[in-house]
């Protein structure tokens, strides 16, 4: 992302493990989140996302391993760390007999905050103004999520940990939350760690994605990989990878490409020159095994990794693409 200095690690899990009897909910999970990132923790239902977040917030005790947030080992009563963390777990709770305003006021009092413009700003950010005098018990699930997010933001946290934050929101609400999280990360430098099973949603805002499946971290995909995975590319199967790289760089002037694996080069731009690339490679003594445009994106990648379809979406028979999965 154009940064040269290594950003500070603000969340780190080391060998994080949680077993419930024989069920291995999370297994030896290592992840790191850097300051300013929007880290999406992606996985299907039951993959271990919520359990991981609970361990991060000291709501569940790890069977093994540990979590460090802002340099502090997370445990119950890690008060110093909690002062700098805002969190909202799946299905944000609220005191149903109290109004939205009272719920927020109570949170503000509990946090020892003085009433200031930030509280009003949070109300505006989370679009809660028109519900302020409504009892929380009468709110829709989506508005409860907004209230939960508002409570999480009240003390201007450095880190936001959110478990399925758009659960229950309508498409407009999802877009609003997405924009809000982006704004919090870019304007206020808040690090966002969010879990989701909705790939389409997170790939629009995440700067890094961690894919968890059956309690195991399968892969962490960085910003550049994300961009690549979401772009079309020309994949050329070559007989000599090293030479192909040299030819593409020196003779074709291509810069935006990557060696996918031995014998396979992916070019991410200049597709109109595909014929030229093939010709020059052949003329330079590189055998072309295959050459095709690929439409694979992060979704296919996710499906391939987890061995199934993306949660909440059903394959469209007319658009199936064989064993690789399907496209929306």
């Amino acid at each position: 992302m154009g940064e040269t200095a290594v950003p500070e690690v603000v969340i780190r899990t080391v060998g994080l493990t949680k077993h419930f009897g024989d069920v291995k909910a999370v297994e030896n999970l290592d992840l790191t989140v850097h300051r300013g990132e929007i880290y999406a923790f992606l996985g299907r239902n039951g993959a271990g996302k919520t359990t991981t977040i609970r361990m991060m917030l000291a709501l569940a005790r790890p069977t093994d391993g540990w979590v460090e947030i802002l340099g502090q080992r997370m445990a119950p009563n890690a008060v110093r760390a909690f002062e700098r963390i805002g969190s909202m777990l799946e299905n944000a709770g609220a005191y149903g007999n109290l109004t939205v305003r009272e719920n927020l006021e109570m949170q503000r009092n509990l946090l020892g905050l003085r009433r200031d413009t930030w509280v009003d700003e949070v109300i505006g950010m989370c679009d809660l103004s028109e519900y302020l005098d409504r009892r929380a018990g009468t709110l829709s699930l989506g508005n409860r999520q907004r209230l939960g997010l508002g409570r999480a933001l009240l003390h201007k946290p450095e880190i936001l940990i959110l478990d399925e934050p758009t659960n229950g929101l309508d498409p407009v609400g999802i877009a609003d939350i997405r924009a809000l999280l982006k704004q919090l990360a870019t304007d206020r430098g808040i690090t966002v760690f969010l879990s989701s099973h909705n790939l389409a949603e997170v790939q629009q805002i995440a700067t890094r994605i961690g894919i968890i499946h059956k309690g195991h971290m399968l892969e962490e995909v960085g910003y550049d990989d994300l961009r690549r995975l979401n772009r079309e590319y020309l994949e050329i199967g070559v007989s000599d990878t090293k030479r192909a790289v040299w030819v593409l760089e020196e003779k074709c002037g291509v810069r935006d490409f990557a060696v996918h694996e031995e014998g396979s080069v992916r070019i991410y731009s200049g597709f109109e020159r595909a014929e030229e690339f093939n010709r020059v490679l052949i003329e330079s003594g590189v055998g072309i095994v295959s050459s095709r445009m690929s439409e694979e994106d992060l979704e296919d990648h996710f499906v391939k990794l987890t061995g199934g379809d993306v949660e909440g979406q059903t394959p469209s028979p007319g658009r199936r693409r064989g064993p690789k999965g399907w496209r929306r």
Binding site: R54, N77, F82, A92, G93, A94, G96
Partner: protein, 266 residues
């Protein structure tokens, strides 16, 4: 700590539970006492005597004759051995169980506040609530006796009843941390209510035995007696009070241990 305490009281705003618990005291206390004149009717007494059993014995002994002394005593016994145990259990279950029922436990436990303070604040709110219910019970008893025109009023008796009510409320309160523990263990209302029902039944079963003064949830009945057996009031020794306090502290420790060590926010 004061912030958490204030929050505990704010959580009760517009909640119907304080009203419901007050209604239980009004109905259980008031209606229970309103039948005393009926029981003192000679024809009714004769019928009860025919039925035999402990109740007949109690009626024959004059335990249910409508005097101020009996009204004050029976009101207190109702609290010690039946509705008080259940109502206080209900209130405790609500205070601790609602955080799980309403899904707020997870946000509570991720606040930058020591978890022990949260437990202590709830215990303070609980103490205020049960004291209010105890005071209401005295008022209901006095109101019922006055409304029925019962004779033999004396302020000295009322004062003794207030002191005894305080004693019973304290003894019952000392048993409540374990009710709260069950609310946290069961993450809701049913387990603590079942526990309260069980200890109420055990308390009644033990009231005639020598164990009566040593079992914490039986001590209130031991202190004020049980007219329905009949068992007379009996003072508690320092040893009994020590057991009650130790039971309370053990319950409190279990509660704190649970919020600090268990996977608390499912």
């Amino acid at each position: 700590m004061m912030r958490v305490l204030a929050a505990e009281f704010l959580k009760l705003k517009r909640s119907r539970m304080p009203l419901w618990s007050g209604l239980i005291v009004l109905v259980a206390g008031g209606l229970g006492l309103a039948v005393l004149p009926v029981l003192s009717d000679p024809a009714t007494q004769a019928q009860i005597a025919k039925g035999g059993g402990v109740f007949a014995k109690a009626v024959a002994a004059g335990a249910y004759s409508p005097t101020w002394t009996n009204y004050l005593l029976i009101g207190l016994q109702g609290m010690s051995g039946s509705w008080g145990v259940l109502t206080f259990g209900f209130v405790t279950a609500y205070l601790f169980g609602r955080e799980f029922k309403e899904g707020t436990a997870k946000s509570m436990l991720t606040l930058p506040i020591r978890r022990e303070y949260m437990v202590l604040a709830k215990m303070v709110a609980l103490a205020v609530w049960v004291l209010c219910l105890g005071a209401l019970s005295v008022l209901v008893t006095m109101g019922t006796a006055t409304a029925l025109g019962v004779g033999g009023f004396s302020w000295a008796r009322v004062l003794k009843n207030v002191i005894d009510t305080l004693g019973v409320t304290t003894l019952l309160y000392l048993t409540l941390p374990f009710v709260a523990w069950f609310a946290m263990l069961g993450r809701g209302y049913l387990p603590p209510m079942l526990y309260s029902l069980a200890v109420m039944m055990v308390g009644n079963a033990l009231v005639e035995t020598p164990l009566s003064s040593w079992v914490p949830w039986n001590m209130p009945l031991h202190l004020v007696g049980a007219s329905w057996y009949p068992v007379p009031p009996s003072a508690l020794t320092a040893g009994s009070w020590a057991i009650a306090v130790i039971f309370f502290l053990a319950g409190l420790a279990a509660l704190v241990w649970r919020v600090d060590h268990a996977d608390s926010a499912v």
